[in-house]
Structure formats: C-alpha cells, structure tokens
Symmetry: C2
Subunit: 209 residues, 2 copies
C-alpha cells in the first residue's frame, strides 16, 4: 500500500468521515452504506468508496460497512489511534485559542504547554495549559517526548523557532505564521494561513462565478 | 477564461505568490523570474508558470514578470483588490483570536463585529472589535453590507447560525465548527477544521513514511 501516494484531499476526507462515523457510533448505528456516509459529509458515494479503496477492501456488498470497525481502521490510518504530545509557541490570542481548542483533545492531540517571550504571560495559564518561557522549549520537547509543534508567533520569528524545534527533535510542524518556512525532508510541515482560506472564498465569489 | 475550472490548489498558491510578491515589492524589486518566485515559496518554476497561465499571458521571455503589475493582477483575480466586510459569530477564544488576526486586515478583510450569546461578553470588545448580542446579527448584516461570515461557535449551534446568516444575505462562510454545514448553491462555503490539519501531519508521519 505504501507504494501508492495517497492524495491529500483523500486524507482530509478520511478525517471528516471519521468524525461522522464517530457520531453514528454514538447514535448506536451498527452498519452504514457509502451512500449514508456520503450524505452525512456532503460528498458522493463513489468518492467515499474510492477514498476507502486506497487502503484495501472494506464492507460487504449489499450490507455496507461496520461503523465501529471502519472508524477504528480510519483512525489507525490517520495515525490517531494513539496520543500525540503537542506544544504551541506563541501564547497570544491565536496560540491561546489553539491551546484550548476542544477538537485537538478529542482527536488525541495533547497540548502540554505554550511557550512565549512576554514576561507578562510567562508563568500564567491559558485555560489549563501552562505558559513557559521560550528558552525552556528545547529541554521541554526532549523531556516530554513532544512530536508536534504549532507555530503561532508573528511571521518574522517563525523560522528561528522552527529551526529550534527541529533541533530539539520535533517531527511535525503546523505553521500559522503567514511566512514560507523551511524544514528538513524528514520533518512534516503544514501551513495554515487563515487569510488564504478567505481568499479562496473571495476568488470563488468574484472570478469563478 | 470562466469556462475553465481553476483548481483550488492553484488559488491557494496564487494567494501565497501574492504575499511573496508584496514582500519583493517592498524590497524594491522591479522584475522577477518564475524561478525566483518558486524559490521564495518553496515551489517549482514550472508550477508557477502553469498556475499563472490559467489567467492569461504574463511576463516577458528572458525578462520575467513585473513585480507590482503581477501582484496587482493576482490581487484582482483573488477578489481582494477591494475590501470585504466580515463578521464573526462566537466570541470565545477562537472567535476573539480571529477578530484580531492581522492577516485578515492586511489582505482587505474588515472584521466589523463579533456576535455572541453570553451576557458576560456582549457589550465588551475583543481588541478593537465590538461584541454584539446574537439577535442583532441579521439587521447588522443588512445595514453594514456584510458579505462574509465566520463561524466560531460550538458545533451544535453552527447550522442554525449559518441558516440565519444566509437568510440575512451573507454570500460566503468560513466555518471553524467541526461539523458538516449545508448552504444553498449560491453561497460559498469553506470549512477549516484545525484537527484535520493535524491529522494530515500524523498520517504523513505514520502511514506514508
């Protein structure tokens, strides 16, 4: 299976399917058709089947998929069948909001700490998450087996912090700073530029219509 | 041009090119090659040329692109050559952080107000942005020509607020609630699930490696 590159859009949809399956499981549903999944996530049944087919044979013709088995398998594919330790650098508005984002905890991402340079906020907490001083970051990453770092600092500081994270052993970075960041090949990087999302909307509203 | 569907990935890259071009313009650069753009955004020159080719002929062979002309044109394509009025519903941590996100203002998105149900925060401000009570939303949208709504409420409330926004005349919605939302065909919708971004990382770290 590993020889075939899975499209990122498929991964994003798997993540959405998994949320919907969890909801169905909570409602006591045992089996589900690709049609029902498609309806629940505003997709097409053919797309659901195609996305799942990347990972092998699922379901029984005419019966459908077992809800909890399928969700367990997708969760494993996504790598969230176990927990991940996460830190956030930048304890401003965005960093604080991210540290308390319920969706992370629900999906197995443990935000252990925030880091910041501002003496006004170091030593305080954002909700239940402690804010430590930036120079403590490297030792904290090593001592707590932190694998994922989130960048929520202003753009000019982002690359320096990324370099420090990588040096400390971080394996994946989610970057919210609106700046192109470089990482070595063995580190996973994903950029979330919130204004880019807005621009996809305005493009569709103006150009594509 | 409108007959050809532009891939979303192209729009996202245009948005990134535009930020980089703005930076080059600030640095006083007059012309730029596709190679330099590619280097600045961690892409390939062929990809840059292909993305731009969707929109016509740019640049002069052997000379490159005029930085400010190209950025002005991309800005127009993205629909951000003029300003957009935006409201955010949900003035919790995430909504407050979004209302103060500098990247919105810089790219022409005016966040005019937050709306919430919590009497503890209605009437206050998040930074400079006022928080109004939720029942005022519909009249505010109509009176202030608000075209884009951001959803930052807990998942169970999201669809009701979206329906109210659509009824009030909102044309595009950026949804941060981890819930599948339905809108009529004439309304643009984009979902930002922050945990999905984390799951693309963990998938790449575990399955794809």
């Amino acid at each position: 299976m590993k020889s075939q590159k899975i499209p990122e859009a498929t991964i994003i949809r798997l993540s959405v399917y998994s949320r919907y399956l969890k909801q169905l499981e909570k409602n006591g549903l045992i089996t589900v058709s690709s049609g029902t999944i498609a309806e629940g996530v505003d997709g097409s049944p053919a797309q659901v089947r195609k996305d799942l087919a990347y990972f092998g044979e699922f379901g029984t013709r005419g019966v459908g998929y077992n809800v909890s088995d399928l969700n367990r398998y997708i969760t494993k594919i996504l790598g969230i069948d176990n927990k991940w330790n996460v830190i956030i650098v930048g304890a401003g508005n965005l960093g604080s909001a991210l540290s308390q984002y319920k969706g992370f905890d629900e999906r197995g991402f443990n935000v252990l700490a925030l880091f910041d340079n501002d003496p006004e906020i170091v030593g305080k907490k954002a909700g239940k998450i402690p804010v430590f001083s930036a120079p403590r970051m490297t030792s904290f990453i090593k001592e707590n087996n932190v694998e994922i770092g989130i960048i929520a600092v202003p753009a000019p500081f982002a690359q320096d912090i990324v370099d420090e994270m990588v040096g400390a052993g971080i394996k994946a970075i989610l970057n919210f700073a609106p700046r192109v960041i470089s990482v070595p090949d063995y580190v996973e990087l994903r950029n979330v530029d919130l204004a880019v999302n807005m621009e996809v909307l305005t493009f569709n509203m103006t150009f594509q219509k």
